[in-house]
């Protein structure tokens, strides 16, 4: 699975199939702090991800006043 991460923007490879929850756990990411987009579609925590899917993990936390 190709996984796009942001801030800074980088791509990593992760083994599939897996679920969104498991992927986030593996990457040590708090689910509340991101959206997961699978092949341009927003997906929920229980969604299954296939090895050929293209995933974006998009942070939603912004700083500032």
């Amino acid at each position: 699975m190709n996984v796009l991460l942001r801030n800074p923007r980088r791509e990593i490879q992760m083994p599939g199939p897996t679920s969104v929850s498991k992927l986030l756990k593996q990457l040590n990411i708090v689910p509340e702090s991101v959206l997961v987009i699978c092949n341009d579609e927003l997906v929920t925590r229980d969604a299954q991800l296939r090895d050929e899917d293209s995933i974006e993990i998009r942070p939603v936390v912004s700083g500032g006043a």
């Binding site: 942001r6 801030n7 923007r9 708090v30 689910p31 509340e32 702090s33 991101v34 959206l35 987009i37 579609e41 927003l42 997906v43 929920t44 925590r45 229980d46 998009r58 942070p59 939603v60 936390v61 912004s62 700083g63 500032g64 006043a65």
Partner: protein, 307 residues
């Protein structure tokens, strides 16, 4: 997961509501939360003209979209902060949104019109960038609303922003800030009304709203945000939320419902000491307002030499 309302496949889960939604029902959820926030806190009347402070980020663009959908007459205000490529890019997102929908976007440029940008200004004034930035934005939003005779300034502060700010204010028992932390601040002499219609929606919901509705926004974080106190509070609050969904809402709404009123006398005291800034006329508790003092320190001008 299935949509709570219509049982079709869900695209987003909102744990604090113990719910998941499909796209249409999620849009309904967002519209409804904004409608309730406006209603519960008596933020806006249907005929009022609103100036939306747009940064090019997810919250402000989603807010603008939601206010228009709710039928408000809402124009946008973009403030160029001079934060390098980040400002150029965020300005593009704000302009593209306005242009594609044929909306009015007012622009104010800090470097061009006031002679300083946030990175150099904050350094010269020895202030944290977000503190210099925040006070500049508040000043310029208010000024633009008064100049344009808008009934209110709407900002995209969401549930997470407000919970993080509350945490900061409580940790230091900042009575003055606590007195002023509320989703609506009525207009008063020299101040336009301020409203925060997204207080019932989390930032994850706002990002999802943009993704689902094809609203392009700047995803990259402002380079000056690193190390910002509020980011740390958000991290802690999100960990809490993970263990006990609804914790953030309980913290924030509990404050609005039960604690905010207890700081009312502090707010009254502060209001009584307000006077017009000697330089720009904005209300301030000092002779010269914080924005003008920042400008003086950032640019080296002496008060009275600029218009």
């Amino acid at each position: 997961m299935k949509c709570r309302r219509c049982k079709s496949p869900a695209v987003i889960d909102v744990r604090r509501h113990n719910a998941a939604f499909c796209k249409d029902c999620f849009n309904h959820h967002c519209t409804e939360q904004v409608r309730r926030a406006i209603h519960d806190f008596k933020m806006l009347q249907p005929e009022e003209r609103v100036l939306v402070a747009v940064s090019g980020g997810k919250d402000s663009l989603a807010l603008w979209d939601l206010l228009l959908k709710a039928g408000y007459q809402a124009d946008g205000l973009y403030v160029g902060l001079g934060i390098g490529e980040y400002s150029n890019e965020s300005g593009r997102f704000a302009r593209d949104f306005a242009q594609s929908r044929d909306l009015k976007l007012i622009e104010v440029d800090l470097p061009q019109q006031y002679g300083f940008d946030i990175p150099t200004g904050s350094e010269a004034a020895r202030r944290a960038p977000c503190s210099a930035c925040g006070l500049s934005k508040r000043h310029l939003f208010n000024q633009a609303a008064i100049d344009g005779e808008y009934d209110a300034v709407a900002t995209g502060h969401n549930l997470d922003d407000e919970a993080a700010v509350l945490m900061g204010n409580v940790l230091r028992w900042e009575e003055g800030y606590l007195a002023r932390q509320y989703p609506v601040l009525p207009a008063s002499e020299g101040f336009a009304k301020k409203v925060k219609p997204l207080v019932k929606l989390g930032e994850r919901e706002m990002a999802a709203y943009c993704v689902l509705n094809g609203i392009d926004y700047i995803i990259e974080e402002c380079p000056m945000a690193a190390g910002n106190r509020h980011l740390g509070y958000k991290e802690i609050l999100n960990q809490l939320e993970e263990q006990s969904p609804g914790a953030k809402t309980a913290f924030l709404t509990g404050f609005f419902d039960r604690a905010h009123q207890r700081f009312a006398d502090v707010a009254v005291e502060e209001r009584q000491t307000l006077q017009p800034c000697a330089h720009c006329d904005a209300p301030t508790t000092n002779d010269v307002c914080a924005f003008c003092r920042l400008q003086v320190r950032a640019t080296g001008i002496t008060i009275g030499t600029t218009s």
